[in-house]
Assembly symmetry: C2
Homo-oligomer: 577 residues x 2
């Protein structure tokens, strides 16, 4: 009896021990461990707090309005980041480095770009070598007729947006200066490099000397069905920028076939003699080469075409369709192969080349667009879209000019004038582009004044004025670029406009300083409403612009302000009294 | 053997169980309890987080600059308030209500005062009934010669600061309207109420009719030693505001003896015929009644003296000396008793009264000061102190005028004109006080303009202008008060200045809006430096002033801005783009 009892008790006790020990193990991980087991963690013992504290839940009553759940250890109260994120709009994420997880707190997400030296109007523009304008979602496509982007930002149909076109050109100009020389492969030049073309029976394919272009070219003529097309099978990867000289007759097509290397899905990009901008039929994407310059025989003039096939593919079909999945990720350049080039109908071509990049070609496409699309009277490049900057401002009617668009265009054209070694078409367009700077915004120009005292070049020439800061500074850069690039005698006006603008900037700059960030514009002053604070990427743009200006204007207000504004990005603030 | 073994094992197991159980108890308090014992705490189980998490330590890497120790529970990271307090300058404290401790988070410490109705220029001024000007540390004392405060804010010696004197007067005017009728006790009026005076042998004490003042008065004459003084022993508490009419000869003294009821320490306040402002010799505090109006016999003119004895005591000796300890706390009115009044030398007195308060007397002391101290040419009340508003501004030379001081004085004088039922001395001083509003600050006035477009009345007429907001609005209230109080025909100029100022205010108000607070002035614009952000009490003043103005001007910009600015005090922000 006694022995049985003892065994029973023994069994029960064993069970109890095992249970409590298992509980102990679970509990001991953090709090338990800290409060009872000496742990040589430096942080637990700093600040004289020799007795590590237990964590308790505690209510935090926020501004006498609502309650959140916090933690308390001794005298310290801990607030959840999910609350702080919303309350202060700060950013944070867990990240693991060398097996240790830490929380990275970021006051802002803006990025500062330090100028690499004194700003050179013939060099890279700002830090636009980092821009990838054509890949932006709000770019519908790069037109095949002009080789420039089409914006859908304010109208889903798409329209030419001079600011964006200039940024496209300036980014390629800048990339050309910063990227290594591209790889180039001549595929067919009718002269030294011949492709192994497949020429169906009845189709014509011949290399001959074209007197008009003084070069050997390929001439072709086929039937109207795809089977009769002359084609060049390929297996080409990586260098996806295709260029060629081309002259097509009406109803003719130049096609490029692409394949996703993994999913083996095929896509076909067709460049056609049409005014359609872009049209998609399943895996077929059509780009119109334009019909403006067709001659009476229905043949287009020789055209140099430069196409980033990866861009042309992605603007046509969603990435998920290419990848055959719902995965949301970027398509990589390495994933695509060119499988075929083909010509259908009749026409001629020359100099088919595949390259890693053709930045200067894109740059000139943009510059030529500005030469062709400038209003000969006003000198403006019009924004063919209605635009409402915000409640309280009158709408900008279709056709408005932007000081930023004008300035960007001038920056681009000044570089084209320089790069082309003096093509005066670019200089003339740039100089004409100054005209709207002298015309008040209420008369269709871009000129506003702050209380009748300081001139301002309006990115959006609103009524009342909006005084958008970043667009103004971009317009100043355009003026500076032209003043520095134009031959003496031609640079007077740009120089004067630049000087006036810099005077305004130095006097008005601080109106944008909120002591913890910047405002995007001065609508609070002109409309009497809440300030339109600049989100962090615009704030970073302000900083980057000032840092750049500081390299060409030594007035300390510019550099000092840039530095303080930079501090705001890591939580610094102006002092209060 | 088997039984012994069993017992041994049993004993060991018991020990083990007890140990683990005791550990469990200590551990179970918070984390352990939460993770294993179902607790019906709503907060632990909200948000789908059905499995309460353990707390771990984790490093937080702040803006890639430094590391702090945080806590982590599952996906949530908790940051210590000690860090947040410094980083964002927010406030918080633990407080226990009904046995539950919670943490109270406050975005700001400013206090909003809602107007009780439409602003009445004859009524309380702002919320100045809450002001206690004389108790401020930067008030040296209330002079016995004029009955107005002396400021030590910008010069430790002390100087007359018109803004402060007006605030003193306006606060007493406002308190008079909001506080209950005071208790008053007549101690001696030589007519109906006689005190039981102690008259040493050889000293003279007689009640007689003074023809000049048409009243029965007490006349006294004593030797020069304290023993010969005529005195009235008392044991009076609570009503510590003493007033009397008094006429002393040179070298004569009126003294009040006070005792701290607990420490039994005695103090003596002596009002003497002298130009000394305040002088202290241990427990004796001397206030000079002034010598300006002594006649050829060395006798001063009859003077009505109103003294808050608690103030006079505290401005003379530190509270720690009164309490006989190093305790830092306020002296309470209930702690002091009046033990004796005494007169030494020769002179006369009448109407000794002890009251809870004598607000209107203080109010008139201030109003009379403004009548007496106005520059007859410029109409200004000068600030006899050099003042530097901040780096970058030229110093304001001794004698500068302030639009806020002028405005406050006018608010005070307009009320004195009203309260006195038309004493034109007050009206004339108020009207003359407008003169500096027409004189540019660089010519000694208070008028600045914003870019030549908007007039501004400068609290500090600096070069360049500083555009201090709260001082400007106070000056507008002065103009409004005079315009509303002065007889028709006299109010034109004040009305015009007010209207001009309101126009400026509505146009410029938003320049002070930082999207999360306000700036105190526009020095960032005029000096090109960091904005001088308004600390929360100044921000609250901005809000309070706008809420008040909204009751007399229905332009929505005023009320809308006030409401937004109020939101900033609880962490709201303007939107970013």
């Amino acid at each position: 009896m006694m022995r049985i009892n003892l065994k029973l008790i023994l069994g029960l006790l064993c069970l109890l021990v095992l249970t409590t020990l298992s509980l102990w193990t679970q509990c001991g991980d953090s709090t338990f461990g800290r409060s009872l087991v000496p742990k040589w963690d430096r942080r637990s013992f700093v600040g004289g707090n020799q007795q590590p504290e237990q964590t308790e839940e505690i209510d935090c009553f926020i501004n006498q309005e609502y309650t959140i759940s916090c933690r308390k250890e001794g005298d310290e109260v801990y607030l959840p980041f999910s609350f702080l994120h919303k309350y202060f709009e700060v950013y944070g994420s867990l990240s693991t480095v060398d097996g240790t997880t830490r929380f990275e707190w970021a006051h802002s997400y803006g990025k500062v770009n330090y100028p690499k030296g004194v700003y050179d109007p013939r060099g890279i523009f700002m830090y636009f070598e980092n821009y990838n304008v054509e890949m932006r979602d709000r770019v519908k496509c790069i037109t095949a007729s002009d080789g420039v982007p089409i914006s859908t930002q304010w109208e889903s149909q798409g329209y030419f947006y001079p600011t964006q076109i200039a940024q496209f050109g300036l980014s390629h100009y800048s990339k050309n200066l910063t990227e290594p020389e591209p790889r180039r492969k001549s595929v067919e030049d009718a002269d030294k490099n011949y492709g192994e073309w497949h020429i169906p029976q009845g189709s014509v394919f011949r290399r001959h000397f074209d007197r008009k272009v003084s070069s050997m070219v390929v001439q072709f003529a086929t039937g109207s069905s795809m089977e009769s097309a002359v084609s060049l099978p390929m297996d080409h990867v990586l260098d996806l920028v295709l260029s060629l000289d081309i002259q097509l007759k009406h109803n003719s097509t130049f096609s490029v076939s692409l394949q996703h290397r993994e999913t083996k899905k095929d896509f076909h990009i067709h460049y056609i003699v049409s005014d359609v901008m872009i049209s998609i039929q399943e895996e077929n994407i059509y780009y119109g080469l334009g019909t403006l310059d067709l001659n009476i025989n229905g043949t287009m003039a020789w055209k140099h075409l430069t196409r980033d096939l990866l861009v042309d593919l992605q603007k046509g079909v969603p990435v998920s369709m290419i990848l055959g999945s719902e995965k949301k990720r970027k398509l990589r350049r390495t994933e695509i192969r060119i499988t075929k080039l083909s010509f259908l109908g009749a026409g001629a071509f020359d100099n088919i080349t595949l390259s890693t990049s053709e930045h200067i070609a894109h740059f000139y496409d943009a510059a030529e667009w500005f030469v062709r699309h400038q209003d000969s009277t006003t000198g403006g490049w019009s924004n063919s879209v209605r635009r409402r900057l915000g409640a309280g401002f009158a709408d900008l009617p279709n056709g408005w000019y932007s000081a930023m668009g004008q300035g960007h265009a001038i920056s681009l054209l000044a570089r084209a004038y320089h790069h082309s070694r003096g093509d005066t078409r670019f200089l003339r367009a740039a100089l004409d582009g100054l005209k709207p700077f002298r015309v008040p915004s209420y008369q269709g120009g871009v000129l506003a004044t702050f209380l009748g005292k300081y001139v301002w070049y309006e990115e959006y020439p609103t009524t009342p004025p909006s005084f958008v800061l970043n667009g103004f500074i971009y317009s100043l850069l355009g003026l500076y670029d032209l003043n520095s690039t134009a031959p003496q005698g031609h640079s007077v006006e740009a120089g004067a406009l630049f000087e006036q603008g810099m005077t305004s900037l130095k006097h008005m700059l601080l109106l944008y300083d909120t002591g913890s960030g910047t405002s995007y514009d001065l609508r609070h002053f002109t409309l009497g409403i809440a300030p339109n604070l600049a989100r962090w990427d615009y704030h970073a743009t302000h900083v980057n612009q000032l840092l750049l200006l500081a390299t060409i204007d030594r007035d300390p207000i510019i550099e000092q302000t840039a530095k303080r504004w930079q501090g705001y990005m890591v939580g610094k603030r102006a002092q209060h009294n």
